[in-house]
Symmetry: C2
Subunit: 413 residues, 2 copies
């Protein structure tokens, strides 16, 4: 049988991983016929004839049925995916930010074209989370999705807590190992995990979540106080993404550093590993764990999408949220707050429960805060000199009480 022709856009970390995997397989129903890259002057390990620098050469080639897009420029990625769909091509994408920002438009474009768009590699590297949500959870009532969705941040936090590494050294290592985004602010600022949460929300909650509706707080400004506190208490600090129904048409969506104790299943998800917990009525809790970053793990997710799309696979989209759910802004939970001024506590309408640093120049305090005050606080000048760590156990206990009737959000294992 004649092999279907694929064009690969991008030959960075993920693109090369995908290329490696394809080269090592026999009897594939497809082959890479062209690789489109930006820089004609860069030295590459392949013959020059396989590369092109003109995307239109690919779109105008009717023999190319499938596009694998793994580039770091999001505007360019969007244009490529749109053009590909307009040309009726099948598209596999790994560009999480581009997808999170444009998912509604792309879904509409796909529905009107003869093309197909799938994007497993955009979320949690090697973990087949979108496939599982689509094929196994499609009719399940999911109450909550939480987890570690960014391999780079998790790697940095593991090094800091477990190996007493400095933030700078840990970040450099994460970049060298190919775990970090081209712009690492996306990782450590919580933006990358927010993008993934939006994509997961579309497939798990059938809900069009936008990144601006997520409270996100990065790990860049982590200080010795949180690290010392975690080590003293036997906690780890994890960048946790949470999307949780709190009541009808209301949800809680956050990406936030959290103190995680040894009883929680995320405690043991270290380094570049990701872990996603799915809470549903009939199945209880499930945890999927695997490498969330890296050339081959993410390349495999793209490879698997290529096989699927060749076999006619596509996503089905529903809208389970016709009423248009909103963030539950009055929802209160407990955080650890490190700040340099009492003004922050006032601005946050912070209910102090315990002062953990009496008599010092900075404040390291434990107390209750409402989502709406955190959302407002994002535009404050003090935001950058503050660090917030979630008390995950308190939150889970509170959610567990709310959902007691349905028996969800119990300590998983």
């Amino acid at each position: 049988m004649k092999k279907k022709k694929i064009a690969l856009f991008g030959f960075g970390c993920v693109g090369q991983g995908l290329y490696d995997i394809i080269q090592q397989q026999n009897d594939l129903p497809f082959e890479i016929s062209k690789i489109c890259v930006k820089d004609p002057n860069k030295t590459r390990n392949l013959p020059g004839s396989v590369f092109t620098y003109d995307k239109h050469e690919i779109f105008n080639d009717n023999d190319i049925e499938i596009i694998a897009e793994a580039i770091s420029d999001d505007d360019e990625a969007l244009e490529i995916v749109k053009l590909a769909l307009k040309h009726g091509k099948k598209v596999v994408s790994a560009s999480k930010k581009m997808l999170a920002d444009n998912l509604a438009d792309l879904i509409e474009l796909e529905s009107k074209s003869s093309g197909v768009l799938i994007y497993e590699a955009s979320v949690c590297g090697s973990i087949p989370i979108l496939r599982t949500l689509q094929d196994y959870y499609q009719r399940s009532s999911i109450d909550g999705i939480s987890g570690i969705l960014n391999g780079s941040s998790n790697y940095i936090l593991s090094k800091i807590i477990d190996e007493d590494c400095s933030y700078t050294t840990a970040l450099r290592e994460a970049r060298e190992l190919g775990f970090a985004e081209t712009d690492p602010t996306l990782d450590v600022g919580g933006f990358d995990a927010s993008n993934k949460l939006c994509i997961i929300a579309r497939h798990g909650f059938h809900m069009p979540l936008k990144t601006k509706e997520i409270f996100q707080f990065g790990i860049r400004h982590i200080s010795e106080h949180e690290i010392a506190f975690a080590q003293k208490k036997g906690y780890k600090i994890k960048q946790v993404a949470i999307l949780q129904k709190t009541k009808p048409n209301r949800y809680l969506a956050m990406v936030i550093p959290a103190f995680v104790d040894g009883h929680h299943p995320l405690y043991k998800i270290d380094n570049e590993y990701n872990g996603v917990i799915l809470q549903s009525e009939f199945m209880g809790d499930q945890l999927l764990t695997g490498k969330g970053a890296g050339s081959h793990p993410t390349g495999w997710a793209m490879f698997s999408d290529l096989l699927a799309i060749t076999n006619g696979y596509r996503y089905n989209y529903y809208n389970n949220d016709p009423a248009g759910s909103l963030p539950d802004t009055d929802f209160a939970f407990n955080i650890y707050l490190k700040c340099t001024s009492d003004m922050v506590m006032i601005a946050l309408d912070f209910k102090l429960l315990e002062d953990l640093s009496p008599g010092t120049a900075y404040r390291f305090v434990y107390g209750s805060v409402k989502l709406k005050d955190l959302l407002k606080f994002r535009s404050s000048e003090n935001f950058k000199t503050t660090f917030i760590t979630l008390d995950l156990r308190y939150l889970l206990n509170k959610l567990s009480g709310i959902n007691e009737k349905k028996g969800i959000v119990k300590a998983m294992v």
Copy 2:
């Protein structure tokens, strides 16, 4: 659209779970038209007209396209599945022992009939492991699959170790909660996990593994010595199923109690939860965790299969093992052995490394043993007064050395 008609065989724990789930869904493409049960005199919560006691009534009804089989009598289950395939019906089965014992025949029968057979519910309750192996790992070179595959044994061991429960009390609880097989010997003897390992082997290794090729050792005769040792060392005892390539055309297949330390991802998989670790070249390690037993979790796996089979889903079978791999019988590893006589150590050709009970009437010893001697020992009279616990860390380190080149079998998290 006219709904497809389903006949459900069996209305026990899993059958009722499936029924509940279907009743709570809207707009399904199918409906249950008949439930075939054995005992006409049993009181049931549904109108009598939905039940039938004659399977031929179902096979001769051309309106019934799909069979959901969840009965505990394996001979009867086999006959039902064979008859259904011969009648060209689509079949969803949960009968692990029946499937493990007859998989090759059933695959052949399916290939010759116009029927389809899938069976996600037969392995690990709610965890979509077969779907993941089929759709995501199909072309991956899997080096090892290990995990906790039996919810009932795991529940019993959790209660014994964590809550100082007696074996008898824990077993009774597992039965009351619906986690145990109708014949609990299947669970606690390691047979149920062996059956699941055979089914997983077919889809993960594309290899026709038989239960007799698996060394299985149950948890029935666990003694105060192992329990005290685990508690002293901070270990848990888990019934671990292992299928691992050791060299070309050789594998290690065991279901065995193991001491698991806090660093291993299976340590935290407690109660009725199951966990499966998949080790592959490009993705590294993945762990899937979820409820491995219970009415609704297992019912959901059947429900999900019903949706899939309605949409034309079927398994693809390959044979990756044309040479016919064999157990690596010379493979040696370390175990903890509790026995009442030195004859056991001699019979096992046991290399003593440490005597953990000097000066007592029984022997509790640590040392090395070969797979072939364990396989032989199964027919020994002393088998029943012996307890064997695997040193999981030692085994993983040894396998890690063997597979170092490929980078697999590292401590996962």
